[in-house]
């Protein structure tokens, strides 16, 4: 199977998506420097283009690409505060995403949400969320609606390793299993909860074991191996679509950057970081593609195209207009619209 042209073509698609996510994250990171005061650093005098907390998924691209490669547009998705990759992989336009990060009127949320609330409802991406685990109950409800409405789609519910220690994780997994709902739970385990190693404060055998305790099939997978994620997601998505109820993927990966973009992450063991960088999911996918016969020039062209696409997004976003102040009073309520005090 290793030289199967179909598998090479699929891996090329996954690699292209991962490269687009990496290019987006790298560009957003640069645009955010000095944008928020934290970790003992002062905000710079000149406001950054991306202000506020920017949670980067650099290093975690294989999870977003591998899972979302098995979704269709009508499938729904809930995400975390670290949600750029999920949003791109679900089909969002990086130009409108970057405009949102820049706070511009042409962003997906009209500049009202920023990075932490990135969303594109038109492709079923129901939003990143500033509260850990908050997407889990929302995902179960969206799946419940799909079932009630007799629709054949599923909901992909991304959450981090820290979320497994919040109550809504238990409530949501139980709910999904009780009603046999079409939810693909994806624990994107980057091994650190903000700045504290998750293992040091998580009891038991891990998130898959917690799922299995509720009779939800769940497996651990190497989250830096995009083919492995893709294979497991394909199997689980098919089982869910066949009416099998929820499934859980525990994808173990690593967060290359700090908790937010201005966090240098100095609390981590440098050896651990070096080992993780050597295990870069993009380098692994590239090596695998070359082993499958892909030409280095073709892969370089993918990399260049991704960078060009994001450079264009940056240019459009920087030139895009700010929202009008009046927009602060719109999209709140229809009832009593105009009555703000």
């Amino acid at each position: 199977m290793a030289s199967d042209p179909a598998s090479r073509s699929r891996l090329l698609d996954l690699y292209r998506m991962m490269r687009r996510i990496r290019a987006f994250e790298d560009a957003a990171e640069v645009a955010s420097q000095g944008g928020v005061a934290a970790w003992g650093l002062a905000a710079s005098a000149k406001p950054a283009l991306v202000r506020g907390p920017l949670h980067l998924s650099t290093g975690q691209e294989a999870v977003a690409a591998g899972v979302c490669g098995n979704l269709v547009r009508e499938d729904l998705l809930t995400s975390t505060h670290r949600g750029h990759g999920h949003t791109l992989a679900k089909g969002a336009d990086p130009v409108r995403m970057m405009c949102e990060l820049f706070g511009r009127a042409s962003g997906y949320n009209k500049g009202k949400g920023g990075s932490m609330h990135i969303a594109d409802f038109s492709v079923g991406m129901l939003g990143a969320n500033g509260v850990v685990a908050a997407g889990i109950p929302i995902a179960t409800g969206a799946a419940h609606a799909l079932k009630i409405r007799g629709l054949p789609h599923l909901v992909a519910c991304f959450f981090g390793d820290g979320a497994a220690n919040r109550g809504p994780f238990l409530e949501g997994l139980n709910w999904a299993q009780v009603y046999r709902l079409p939810v693909l739970f994806v624990c994107e385990d980057n091994r650190i909860s903000a700045t504290t190693p998750t293992a040091s404060m998580t009891a038991g055998e891990g998130v898959s074991a917690r799922a299995r305790a509720l009779a939800i099939p769940g497996q651990r997978v190497d989250g830096n191996d995009v083919e492995a994620v893709d294979t497991l997601a394909r199997q689980y998505a098919a089982e869910i679509r066949a009416g099998g109820g929820p499934r859980l993927i525990h994808a173990v990966t690593y967060r290359f950057k700090g908790h937010v973009s201005v966090d240098p992450g100095t609390y981590r063991d440098p050896g651990e970081v070096q080992a993780a960088l050597a295990d870069d999911p993009l380098l692994r996918a590239r090596a695998r593609l070359q082993a499958l016969g892909a030409a280095a020039a073709d892969l370089d062209a993918i990399d260049a195209a991704a960078k060009a696409e994001i450079d264009h997004a940056l240019a459009v976003a920087e030139a895009a207009p700010w929202p009008e102040p009046a927009a602060a009073y719109e999209d709140i309520m229809d009832t009593a619209a105009g009555v703000w005090r």
Partner: protein, 332 residues
């Protein structure tokens, strides 16, 4: 032509309890709109207070959904259902339990539309029964309406009569914004005429009696206490106007300001703790707008106690309202 009439086809005006009025409003709405679902604990058995009686038998367990005791997920699932095309009605048993779902109400339901730039809407109705009832002590007796009036993105309604529980619930079910719907537990059994053809708009107060010397504004269970006080010997001869707000956000500022400007005196009465209660907002806004004198009557800032003498310290009564009204009128 000979098709059976729906079970809720009933005379236009009938005597119903506050609980039955809400049941009928929901039943009629569910008949008309297949997107409306209800979810919460013990709904198949009619709900703790009978306000869902017969609905699961009528519409099936797929639409009137018995849930685990998982308040966060009940409310969060309702947000997800709303985003995916349904119009959920959330049952929380008592408002005190909704505190387990505050993230889902405050950060998710109330913020969704704005935060995502209007991409989605959350047309849900969260029924959070309030109030002192049946010696239920500190964790089953609270009136927390001011927690929710404080939050942009939410409508807050608090019906005081069977007619309004019918009309306001219907209006809430048709509202596209998240509605926090506060039924008072002590009113469930109260019976009154309900005209099913009479609409009640959100944001409109009702004036129960007219007067020229003092405006009393109240809502929910406060209406009964005020009506009793107006009949008390201590207030005979006083000309008092009584307004039931019915909706707390948006509240009927026009009606209150017009009345307060005319009487020059305003007393706001509610069962909730007075400190930081919604009465403070009504009083301040009316004073700013009209220059009227203002006074408030709410509960002391103490948890509701179990023993009758302790609970009574937190309860509204006709005597407390009458005393507050006499003070507002400078009567000794």
């Amino acid at each position: 032509m000979n098709a059976p009439l729906p079970s809720s086809a009933t005379p236009a005006v009938q005597a119903l309890s506050y609980a039955q009025a809400a049941q009928l409003a929901l039943e009629q709405a569910m008949e008309r709109d297949a997107r409306i679902v209800a979810l919460g604990e013990d709904l198949g058995r009619g709900g703790v207070f009978g306000q869902y009686r017969g609905l699961q038998q009528r519409f099936g367990a797929g639409r009137v959904i018995d849930t685990p005791i998982s308040e966060s997920n009940i409310m969060g699932a309702a947000v997800g259902m709303a985003l995916a095309g349904l119009r959920p009605v959330v049952e929380m048993r008592v408002i005190d339990f909704a505190l387990c779902a505050m993230d889902e109400i405050v950060n998710q339901a109330a913020k969704n539309r704005f935060m995502f730039g209007g991409q989605g809407r959350v047309p849900l109705v969260a029924r959070l029964p309030i109030g002192i009832w049946s010696a239920s002590a500190a964790q089953h007796s609270q009136s927390l309406e001011s927690w929710f009036t404080h939050l942009p993105g939410l409508v807050v309604a608090a019906p005081a009569s069977p007619q309004d529980n019918f009309g306001l619930l219907k209006a809430a079910l048709e509202c596209g914004d998240p509605v926090v719907y506060l039924e008072h537990k002590e009113l469930w059994g109260q019976t009154g005429p309900v005209d099913t053809g009479q609409a009640v708009a959100l944001g409109r107060a009702r004036t129960l009696c007219s007067g020229s010397e003092l405006t009393v504004v109240t809502w929910s269970r406060g209406v009964d206490a005020c009506l009793q006080a107006l009949d008390a010997p201590e207030l005979q001869g006083a000309s008092i106007e009584l307004i039931d707000l019915r909706t707390l956000w948006p509240w009927d500022q026009a009606a209150v300001f017009e009345s307060a400007a005319r009487t020059g005196r305003l007393l706001v009465v509610h069962e909730a703790v007075q400190v930081s209660g919604f009465g403070a907002e009504v009083a301040a806004a009316a004073a700013e707008a009209t220059g009227c004198r203002v006074a408030r009557l709410g509960a002391p800032r103490i948890p509701v106690g179990y023993a009758p003498v302790l609970e009574a310290e937190s309860r509204l009564s006709a005597a407390k309202v009458a005393l507050a009204a006499r003070r507002a009128l400078d009567l000794r």
